[in-house]
Amino acid sequence: MPMKIGTEEFNSRVEKGINDGFMREAVRSAQGRLYERRLNAAEELGNWEEWRNHGEEIRRHTLENLDYYLEQLSDNVAERGGHVFFAETAEEANTYIQNVVKKKNGRKVIKSKSMVTEEISMNQALERIGCEVIESDLGEYILQIDDHDPPSHIVVPALHKNKSQIRDVFREKLGYLNTEKPEELTLFAREKLRKEFLSADIGITGCNFAVAESGSISLVTNEGNARLATTLPKTQITVMGMERIVPTWEDLDVMVSLLSRSAVGQKLTTYVTGLTGTRDDGDGDGPEDFHLVIVDNGRSKILGTEFQEALHCIRCAACINVCPVYRHVGGHGYGSIYPGPIGAVLSPLLGGYENYKELPFASTLCAACTEACPVKIPLHELLNKHRRRIVEEEGMSPAMERMAMKGFQYGAGSPVLYKIGTKLAPLLTTPFVTEGMITNGPGPIRPWTETRNLPEPNKERFRDWFRKREREAKTDG
């Protein structure tokens, strides 16, 4: 699955989302549930704002000193018997992973959830060399079974599907015969997956945070699948975005506290796993061979720019879970495996404006995302920075709009012109007014009146009333 999903244009993706009643109901109910749970978890912890400040500080410090911590991480992984590979591009990462798999004669890979492997299309790269890749996260498994339906959410990838749709997928693809009860569906998947775990040669995981001081990786899950994927196969490959790093275990504690509460409203997820190096003599399990693939794929180009804070993201999806636009168009509307506010910031940075120029404008800048972000990324500001770049630097805005904004600058940038314009407004709109309302406006007003009425401009502007009143007061006085 590459970062870009599908070939449809933005407008038709949005239309499709809006018309998908099942998906919208699923998103509405998930947003409602997660919103309450997140707020309750934050309140229970107490001093949430201080935790956020602390989280922000850790992320800022780490990103400002990323080269130092990456080197420390790399040295410590090597010291514990692991191999580290820095991949500048998706291709480099995939080639390295393919080579490891080939060397081990790997036929079957069992995976735990990882967005960065989606971003670099790792599964396809492995399938090209004849390797079978099995997703073991339940949501990802459902999507994989369903002819590689793209994820619509970074934490809950199959959020757009309800349980009866999942039952149908299992029925059609795997011969499932039971009901749509989540317990029965899960048990079925669990039995299928257990066989895969036992027969896989290689385990591939993502990484929530790598800990630089010890060369460890941490995995935050609720299903325990990442533990199986890292204990059963003899070879483990972990793929991480280059920014997913914390300096110390103490920092990890803060980040996991913020992550699990922000993502799913839990104090702690069922499993938080820390893994360091390869299997030691006397260890009961763990990989004999460990590879850490650190992926750049456009991230270092963001460092030092006005968008650096986007790299602070810890992929909790709190911004997605509060976004009123995501609520109505769903994840696929964004056309990227990274949807919602963080997706609208990140996708153009990693995938280019030519693919994602609409996304920064698909927001009311309501700042619900900024308010929810546990590491205080000013998401709505970053969206507006994209807008400025698209308009002023890339010159990608429509000519009519540029003219209108020039007009706005002259009109609102000159008190005289402004006064003339506002004085003329009622006269110009009179032909379109019925019973005090414009219901079918001309030109630039039309998109507004397609769904809403517009009040007619006041014949007496506020300023006229104020001056008249002042004059009267003077005469009276």
């Binding site: 809006i18 009123p324 404008f361 507006n384 609102a412 769904t451 506020f462």
Partner: protein, 241 residues
């Protein structure tokens, strides 16, 4: 206390009654209200669409318009929060940046001014009705004004406030978003109207004319019997003679 009213472009053109009510409430509370004639618009339509250079010219006009004001008060949290963007707009121009910061320091949204500066939570208003309140995003999140309007409304005699479901969600206005992203905006405002109806309120109160123009425009289009009022109109209701 001398207060300069920033009416906002929507207030000047479409909602002059909101301006009148704002003036009357402020005067009743002892303020002397003036209206700097050279004010225009805060520049947000350009700024939030990516046209920062165009917005800059407008920002300069506004900075000059209120240069000599003691306090600047507007019946809109969104437009005041736009003032807060001015210093960063002039980040490479120390002279204008300084002037922009001065403007930010003395500017208040209407209910924020009543509660924080005048220290008034009860204006003595009387309004008989069942209402719900839409909390505007920019006012609550960017300006941080959450409690002031609620405190003021709670003290209005005869007014019953019903809690609005999903009150944290944006109404779908977003300035140029409402026309650039029409279909998404429509879904957002429709859900907002539905939530308002669920409260069985007869009146929707808000503190930002942009949001009210959006929600009110949709309510009006659908012919729903819900009255839409700016908080200044409610706070100026009663027997004042």
């Amino acid at each position: 206390m001398r207060v300069s009213l920033f009416i906002t472009c929507l207030g000047d053109i479409f909602y002059s009654k909101v301006g009148k009510d704002t003036v009357e409430v402020l005067e009743r509370l002892g303020c002397e209200v003036d209206f700097p004639e050279s004010q225009t618009c805060c520049g947000q339509p350009a700024f939030n669409s990516g046209y920062q250079e165009n917005a800059k010219q407008v920002a300069k006009i506004m900075i000059l318009a209120f240069e000599h004001s003691e306090y600047v008060v507007a019946p809109s949290g969104s437009c005041i929060s736009m003032f807060h963007e001015y210093p960063s707009l002039f980040k490479d121009d120390p002279e204008w940046k300084g002037k922009a910061s001065d403007l930010v320091d003395k500017s208040y949204e209407f209910t924020q001014f009543l509660v924080e500066v005048l220290k008034v939570e009860n204006v003595g208003a009387f309004f008989n009705g069942r209402a719900t309140y839409h909390r505007s995003c920019h006012m609550t999140r960017l300006l941080g004004v959450k409690d002031a309007p609620i405190a003021l409304l709670e003290n209005v005699k005869g007014l019953e406030i019903r809690e609005l479901p999903n009150c944290q969600n944006c109404c779908g206005f977003g300035g140029t978003f409402s026309v650039k992203m029409g279909p998404i905006s429509e879904q957002m405002v429709d859900e907002k109207v539905k939530n308002i109806e669920e409260t069985e309120a007869d009146v929707l109160i808000g503190a930002d004319s942009g949001c009210l123009m959006n929600i009110g425009g949709r309510i009006n289009r659908q012919g729903k019997p819900i009255q839409v009022l700016h908080i200044a109109e409610v706070l100026n209701s009663g027997n004042w003679e």
